[in-house]
Structures are given as C-alpha cells and as structure tokens.
C-alpha cells in the first residue's frame, strides 16, 4: 500500500499546507471552525482531530493565486486581517483558517443575502468577525476594525482600488500586507484586462511594494491578484492630532529576556 502523500507546511504561512500531487499540487488550510465543510469543500479529518480543508483555485481567487505561484505575503497565525467583500465567506473562511484561533478576520460585506450566510459561518468560526456595511464608509467602521496586519480585498467594483487605498490608510499597519483580487471586467471595457491590471498596479505603487500582477486564468478569467506590502506604513500618515489615549507607563515585567520573548500570537 502506498503511504499517503504528506502535507507540507508552506513557508509563508504555517497553517497552509501543500500536498504534492499530480497533475498539480493541492493546497489545504488547517480548519479553525470545526470539522464540517463551509461550502461543500473537501475536508480531511486527521486522527489528532485537526481538520484540513481543500483550498480550491476554482472556488477562490486567493487559492488561484497560490496555484499561479503567489509567494506572499500571506495571512499568518495570530494576525488580524481586514477582508473587504467577503460575500458568503468562501475565501474569508480560509483566511480565518490561516490566521488561526488567535488571529482575527474582520469581514466586511454590503449585500444582505450573502451577509446572512456569512453570519451563519461566523457563528461557528471563532475568529471571523462579520461586519455588514459598505467598504466605502471607512469612517463608520472606525469603532469596529482595529489596526490590521493585512488587507484582503475582492470587491469587483469599478473603484475597487480607491476603496482599498482608503481602507489601508485607515486600518493597515505600517508595512502591512495587501492582497487584492482585481476583477478587470468590472473596471470598464475601454482597456484590456492587462492594461487595467497595470493601471491598478501603478495606482498602488505609490504606497505599496508590489510584485507583478498575477493573472488568475484559467481559474478566474480576466482576474489578477496583486500582492505586496505597504512601503511606508500608510496608517501612520493618517495620525494627525494627539492620540486618543495618552502614553501609559510601561509595567515592569518579571520575565527574563530570552532570545525569544514568548510565543508569537
């Protein structure tokens, strides 16, 4: 009997596993919301109780990006991510898997019907925080979204790049990560998909160090994934005026300072 193909953790995100298979590798995320499938995806239950959820390129643009060689930045355990355009939570649930039980995904969706399903998914996902609202209203979400390590956006709107920039300026930490799934079909037909992708890249390049747009075909036609990091912390520039909470004296900690100060949350 052949031994099963092992799952190897991806270097960029330990809760993402790659399985060498033919004709191509598959990606799996370590489930953070219990052993049941969220949208009918394949789930493997390991004897130790850990569940692995198949992350299919045809279902999710992030998975398609991985299949097309996306190197990062990826959501990592313990991080908080802002997810714009979560719909029913297909990809958002996988992002929640990647940040794990100590991370958070703040998932913004404006349409009522998908939101109702997102809410149902969030009931069993301890780290998925659904927010019903329009991503354009960043100021209405100030009380709901803390500074985040990364922003994932999949809005399929003509002004998606502008919406993403506004949200990054408000919520993304310095040097935070950005993953943007770009649907060029909703950006108008007066340019080719590649031209749209290059224009979006240019528009973001002032704030972000971006890799070249990754085309997502054949999984999602005329879609691209843009990935990178904020070059100079867009969040820092928004902080004019005195901080809301003045500096609090540091408490002395009795912990010995080791080479590793503690687990990474």
């Amino acid at each position: 009997m052949r031994s099963p193909t092992p799952f190897a953790p991806e270097p960029g995100s330990p809760r993402l596993k790659r399985r060498r298979e033919s004709p191509h590798d598959t990606f799996w995320t370590v489930g953070a919301g219990g052993p049941d499938a969220v949208y009918g995806e394949r789930v493997l239950l390991r004897p130790d109780g850990v569940s692995l959820r198949l992350f299919e390129p045809g279902r999710s643009k992030l998975a398609a990006g991985l299949a097309r060689g996306l190197a990062g930045p990826l959501p990592r355990p313990g991080e908080r991510w802002l997810y714009l355009g979560a719909a029913t939570g297909t990809t958002a649930s996988h992002v929640a898997d990647l940040v794990g039980p100590l991370g958070r995904v703040y998932a913004v969706e404006k349409s009522l019907r998908p939101f109702a399903r997102l809410l149902a998914t969030a009931r069993r996902y301890p780290n998925l925080c659904p927010i019903l609202g329009d991503a354009r209203w960043t100021e209405r979400h100030l009380g709901l979204i803390p500074p985040v390590a990364g922003v994932y956006a999949d809005l399929a709107q003509p002004d998606q790049v502008g919406i993403v920039l506004a949200n990054c300026a408000e919520f993304l930490r310095p040097e935070g990560a950005l993953l943007l799934a770009l649907k060029t079909a909703s950006m108008g037909r007066d340019a080719t998909p590649e031209e749209h992708a290059r224009a979006a890249h240019r528009q973001l390049a002032a704030t972000f160090d971006l890799a070249d747009p990754i085309p997502l075909d054949p999984f999602h036609r005329r879609h691209f994934l843009l990935a990178g990091r904020a070059a100079r912390g867009p969040g820092a520039s928004g902080s004019s005026g005195p901080p809301l909470v003045p500096r609090v004296p540091e408490r002395a900690t009795s912990r010995p300072a080791g080479p590793r100060a503690g687990p990474r949350w």
């Binding site: 908080r80 301890p126 007066d190």
Partner: protein, 303 residues
C-alpha cells in the same frame, strides 16, 4: 510591554482606566454599537478589545506591541488546546483576561444590522430584485447547459433527464414566487414607476441605482442607459439598458427601441419623483403619454 486597561461603560460612553488611573477622556460610542451592547449587563464585551478598537493609531502607545488585543485574543480560549496555553501565557504576562468572547459582539451587531436592514422595505426590495435578476441569469445558463448535454447524449441518460426536469420544475416554482414578491413590493413602494415601466423593471432600476434617492437624482438620460452593457461612446453607443424590458417595449419595432427607451426614461424619471414624494398611484397622465408615444412609434413602423 504589557498594558492593562480596564473599560467602564455607562450608557453610551466608555472610559478607560490604566494602572495609574483614567486614561484620556471618556469616549462616546457609536449609537449602533451602544445599542448592540445594551442588554448584555456590561460584562459581555471585552473592554480591552473595545479599547483597542477605538482607534489607537500606530502612533499611540498601544500600537507598538499591541498587547491588549493580543492578551484578549490569547485569553478567549476558543480553540481549546491553544486557548488554554494562550490563557496561561496571557496571565503570565499580566495581560487582561476578558469576560466574554468578542465575537459575540460582532455576531450580535451583525444580526442587529441585518434585522434593521430587512425591516427597511427599500433594502428588502433591493435584495430581492438582485436575487431575482441573478436567478434569471443563472437558470437560463443552467438550462442551456443541461439541454445541450441532453441533446449531445441523444436524449441523455434517462435518470439525468428526469432529475433535470424535476430540478427545473422546483427552480421555476421558486423563481415564480420570487417574481411575485418583487412585483408586489415594487407596486407598493414605487407605484407610479411600476405603472410606467412595469414592476419588475422598476425594481431592477431601483436595485441598480442602489436606492430611491439615487434614482430620483438621476437624469433621465442616465436612467435610459442604466444597466447597459456597453459604454456610452462617440460611435454607436448603447440606446438602452434595463429599460429594454420596460412594459410596452415588446410592441416596438427593434430599430425604434432606442427611441422608446428615451421616452420611457423621461416618463420614468417623472414617475419616480412622484413616488419619492408620495407613493400612491396617480400616473394616469403619464400612462396616456406612454400610450400616445407607443401609437406614434407603431405608425412610424407601419409606414
């Protein structure tokens, strides 16, 4: 670095207290947030988390290591093995241990907003109209694929054909219910627009515009093209969008449909303004103008 902040809440204000006393001024909560919190007896939401939520900019003292939220997260213990370890680690660092899961807060706020939105007849109609449009599109695509398959397989496997027929019946019944509901709500909310262009088209126009306000503010030339696939351009631009499905359009000769769309847009923009002021049916004069226009177009075609 570890900072312990406690939150005290009174009605719609909260105050943070650090190890050395109150920190800053009290902060007013968004009324919606305050409403979601009301009734949880003050202990339901981890104050430390809210403290973080209330905008500590990266320049603020809490942003550097962010221990407050990390402690909160660690202490939530939602995934048992990690949670217990996290809880221990949080205690060892002196991080505050919150009283309840923060996600409860988001779930409750989400459910509250959803309820509020669905209580709003405009929002409900928008949602149903989008759903109806999507269903029409997808079931057409699905039907074409199934029929092609059945034709290609020479009648197709009997079991498949049977299952498809049953599925199709169910789908059509569901679609019919949805259409009735959309029509009924459109007639109630936009009686005059529904009279002029038909309730389904009225609902779709509303859904595409995103609300009554945007639809009222729209010029009739935008209304004419609302929902069109092509972009207006110097060459042969689009003549109609959603109005192609306006009532009366089926009787117009194909090359006169742009002309009728223009008239229908003019009438529709008057009708929707009437609806915005007072949603009662009083569109007789608009209907007379519509009939006259249709008759004129029919005469042109027969000439």
């Amino acid at each position: 670095m570890a900072v312990a902040l406690r939150m005290f809440r009174a009605a719609d204000r909260i105050l943070f207290v650090g190890p050395t006393g109150p920190v800053g001024r009290s902060v007013r909560l968004d009324p919606e947030v305050a409403a979601a919190l009301a009734g949880d007896g003050g202990g339901g939401v981890p104050g430390e988390l809210l403290g973080e939520l209330l905008r500590h900019r990266p320049a603020g003292p809490l942003a550097a290591a962010d221990p407050v939220l990390e402690g909160t997260a660690a202490a939530l213990g939602l995934d048992p093995p990690v949670g217990r370890a996290g809880r221990r680690a949080a205690r060892a660092r002196g991080w505050p241990v919150p009283s309840a899961a923060e996600r409860e807060f988001y779930l409750r706020l989400g459910a509250l907003r959803l309820r509020q939105a669905l209580a709003d007849p405009v929002e409900t109609l928008l949602t149903l109209a989008r759903e109806e449009e999507r269903l029409e599109r997808t079931s057409r695509r699905e039907a074409a694929a199934a029929e092609q398959f059945l034709a290609g397989a020479e009648g197709g496997p009997a079991e498949y054909a049977e299952r498809w027929a049953r599925f199709r019946e169910g789908l059509e019944a569901h679609a019919a219910l949805l259409r009735d509901e959309v029509d009924r709500r459109a007639r109630a909310l936009l009686p005059n627009l529904s009279a002029v262009v038909g309730p389904r088209t009225a609902a779709r126009l509303l859904a595409r515009a995103g609300g009554v306000g945007p639809l009222v503010r729209m010029s009739s030339s935008r209304l004419q093209l609302l929902g069109s696939r092509r972009r207006p351009g110097a060459g042969r631009g689009p003549r109609h969008g959603l109005l192609l499905r306006a009532e009366g359009m089926e009787a117009v000769a194909p090359d006169r449909r742009g002309a009728y769309a223009r008239s229908a847009a003019g009438l529709a923009s008057i009708a929707v303004r009437m609806d915005a002021v007072d949603p009662t049916l009083r569109a007789e004069r608009l209907l007379i103008r519509r009939a006259r226009r249709l008759a004129a177009l029919a005469r042109e075609a027969s000439r």
